[in-house]
Amino acid sequence: MTESLIQAYSNSPRRQKLQIIGGIFMAIVIAAVMLILYLVISSRVVFMGRQLQQAKSDIDQLVYLSVNYQNKIDRLSRFEIMEQRAIEMGFRPPYPGEVFYVPVAGIDDEQQVVVVFQEDNPAAVINVDLPDYHQSLIEWVGDRLRVFLRPFRGL
């Protein structure tokens, strides 16, 4: 009796229509969610890509700028300019007879070449290792789920 009532209830034309409509809506909602997810991921990738392009451009600009500063320093410390400054300050080159040599204990008088130049910071080299940039959709959903479920797991 109960079974026949349930069957009659579920097979009623109105219920059947509702099921179909509900199914369609469910499919639309799932498709929309998937679409939104796809758009979110794809926009994030585009955003990261744009950031990367901007970073590369910024690096180029910084190189141009640093070269400008380096060139300015090089020009200001030219031999001719430094010599002129020294002369203005009252210095002049010494002659061999004017030099006094004083032995200092512990100081090696051997002329050692010291290369004072230091290589620039190699930070200008970009290492493309942004996890978000290479993450697949499934990995991203998994990540988000783990974050979402963390409080429920008591972590």
């Binding site: 990738v45 585009v46 955003f47 990261m48 890509g49 744009r50 990367l52 392009q53 590369k56 690096i59 180029d60 600009q61 190189v63 141009y64 700028l65 070269v67 400008n68 500063y69 380096q70 060139n71 300015k72 090089d74 020009r75 410390s77 030219r78 031999f79 001719e80 010599e83 080159p93 010494p94 002659y95 061999p96 007879g97 030099v99 040599y101 032995p103 008088d109 002329q111 070449v113 010291v114 290369v115 004072v116 130049f117 290589e119 620039d120 190699p122 200008a124 080299v125 970009i126 493309v128 940039y133």
Partner: protein, 613 residues
């Protein structure tokens, strides 16, 4: 009823709109399929532009880290002459063209013709200047702004103009042209030489258009300095942003040159050339223990920032195609007597006190060889033969050695062979083989005092390093180290042979020390024991033969003789004040040594020996 009709009309309208929209989309799809060539359509993922990343050419530094060759940011300036259909456009582009011509001093005939063409062609981006400096570009933009604002284009006074130029030159910020509708500027890097002419003959230069190194270090190490070409297709598609290559700057090169000493030596050389009326010259200062070149001066020099300028272009592209005289081959004259005597002493055919009766001439292979003053000098020992620079005596010494032994020694000393110094354009020189068909025995006599052979100053420095350095011959080198990606490579000292024994080297050094002292040479520096030898060589002129009024004067010397720390070679070509090496090259040697001992911290012998005790 009426209300229902009204509703139907609205439904029908919406349906018609959607239908039309759909039909339009379908029609467009059909049209594209039927009429447009798919190959001509842009592929979105492939869209992009050619970009040149800021790849920096490696620096060239002296041994103390002072920059001799760096980089500079310049701009490629494009002006858009496109027709936008606005009124007054013709006048606008005409004025922009005129301002560009004045600001960048355009003298390229093709570009000038285009910019001054009437009627004005309204074309898209035209590059009006490819290497605009910061100051020139700012000046141009300032004038463009004045034009658009209706202000007078010229400044009120020269002082104001000068202050603006110095302000532009002081500016280091990058110039942004994005506010200008018709002007765009793209920064890029070019070579810059802050010291202008200093060591220009050693460094060489970089061609602006091709970005290729020419001459000297720039050519020899072009690939090392350049790094990788970073011109690449930059995709606009952000999904492909990571395909852009990483910046790859060129390696930096540290030279063994001391730029302060180099400047002093260049000054001394220039003054000597001016004073003596010579046409060219070269001075090399080397540490004979390591082979490191401390200074390599050559004259004339050029401002390599402006290598294309007429005056400098002629210096670089001279008839003999020689920019660095330190690596050019020439007949050196009597400085070769040092090597002849070294060979004879080492072979044991003579000793310092071997007596030779100088009769003023000697015949070898049918040719009569005479002394420089064409006189007979009577009894001489080997030291006085060197001291008086007697051709007859040294020719006799060579005959005592005989051809095979003499030329084997010259070969061991590396004469007529490239030294391998890291400079582009080194000449090999010419020393004939004694078994070659065009060799005559008379050449044994003339070669013994440095005529009839061609060698370079750097070869001579290498050969004499064996005498200064106790028999050990070192390869001269001008590269101290190469630095790339934080890693440094320093080439080691290279011993390239032991052409003579340590005893021979010591004996000959003492003979040359004595001969300098005895003749009260102009090369002597008080307080320092020096060994050395002058050289005077007649220059062969094809139509006139050897003409004694045109000579190459040279001097080679080293010191302190008991602990050699410097070896100096001087060559002054075609002086008019005197033809003798003892009067022209020897004083240059002295002046150079006076600088070297101070720069290298070499005390006078008495002080040095006292300190050693």
């Amino acid at each position: 009823m009426n209300e229902k009709i009204s509703y139907n009309w609205r439904y029908i309208s919406i349906a018609v709109m959607f239908t039309l929209f759909g039909v339009a989309i379908l029609a467009q799809m059909v049209r594209i399929q039927l009429t447009v060539n798919s190959n001509e359509l842009p592929v979105p993922v492939l869209l992009g532009q050619w970009e040149k990343a800021a790849s920096r050419r490696g620096l060239i530094l002296d041994r103390n880290g002072h920059v001799l060759a760096g980089n500079q940011t310049v701009y490629a300036v494009d002006v858009n002459f496109e027709d936008y259909g606005r009124s007054g456009e013709i006048e606008e582009v005409k004025m922009l063209a005129e301002l560009a011509i004045e600001s960048f001093e355009i003298n390229n005939h093709y570009l000038l013709g285009f910019l001054q063409q009437e009627p004005r062609p309204l074309e898209r981006n035209i590059t009006v200047e490819n290497f605009a400096s910061q100051a020139d570009l700012l000046g141009f933009l300032d004038r463009v702004e004045r034009y658009y604002a209706g202000l007078p284009l010229e400044q009120a006074s020269e002082e104001q103009q000068e202050s603006e130029v110095s302000m532009y030159e002081a500016s280091t910020d990058l110039v942004d042209c994005s506010d200008y509708v018709r002007i765009s500027c793209t920064p890029h890097l070019i070579r810059s030489y802050p010291e202008d002419k200093l060591a220009s003959n050693v460094i060489g230069f970089v061609m602006r258009d091709t970005n290729e190194g020419q001459l000297g270090i720039e050519e020899k190490f072009d690939a090392t300095l350049f790094g990788n070409d970073r011109t690449w297709w930059a995709f606009w598609d952000p999904h492909q942003a990571d395909l852009a290559p990483d910046p790859d700057h060129g390696a930096n090169i540290v030279l063994t040159i001391d730029s302060v000493l180099q400047a002093d030596v260049e000054d001394i050389l220039d003054q000597s050339i001016d004073k003596t009326g010579a046409v060219a010259g070269s001075v090399i200062v080397m540490d004979p223990r390591s082979g490191e070149i401390l200074a390599m001066a050559s004259s004339p020099r050029a401002d390599i920032n402006r290598y294309w300028d007429g005056e400098y272009y002629e210096i670089i592209n001279n008839l003999e195609n020689v920019f660095n005289y330190a690596i050019k081959a020439y007949e050196p004259g009597s400085v070769v007597k040092v090597l002849t005597m070294a060979a004879a002493l080492d072979a044991g055919v003579v000793e310092p006190n071997t007596e030779f009766i100088d009769e003023g001439q000697i015949e070898i292979g049918g040719v009569t060889i005479k002394n420089w003053n064409e006189e007979a000098w009577g009894p001489q020992d080997m030291t006085s033969c060197l001291q008086n620079s007697l051709n007859v005596c040294l020719a006799w010494v060579a005959t005592e050695l005989e051809s095979e032994q003499f030329y084997n020694y010259l070969q061991d000393f590396g004469l007529g062979q490239m030294t391998g110094i890291e400079l582009s354009g080194e000449a090999p020189g010419l020393v004939k083989s004694y078994w070659s068909s065009d060799y005559t025995r008379s050449e044994l006599g003339t070669n013994a005092f440095g005529q009839g052979i061609e060698i370079t100053p750097i070869q001579m420095v290498k050969a004499v390093s064996a005498i200064a350095n106790g028999g050990e011959m070192v390869a001269p080198r001008i590269i101290h180290s190469v630095i790339d990606d934080g890693y440094s490579y320093t080439p080691p000292k290279t011993v390239v042979g032991h052409p003579i024994s340590a005893e021979t080297a010591e004996t000959l050094t003492e003979m040359l020390r004595q001969s300098l002292q005895n003749e009260s040479s102009l090369a002597l520096v008080p307080g320092y024991s020096l060994a050395g030898k002058t050289g005077t060589a007649e220059i062969y002129i094809p139509s006139l033969g050897y003409k004694s009024s045109a000579t190459n004067t040279s001097f080679i010397g080293w010191g302190p003789t008991d602990d050699p720390q410097f070896l100096v070679y001087v060559w002054i070509s075609k002086p008019s004040a005197s033809i003798w090496g003892s009067e022209i090259a020897a004083p240059v040697f002295r002046k150079v040594v006076e600088k070297v001992v101070i720069h290298q911290g070499i005390p006078p012998d008495a002080v040095r020996l006292a300190l050693q005790e």
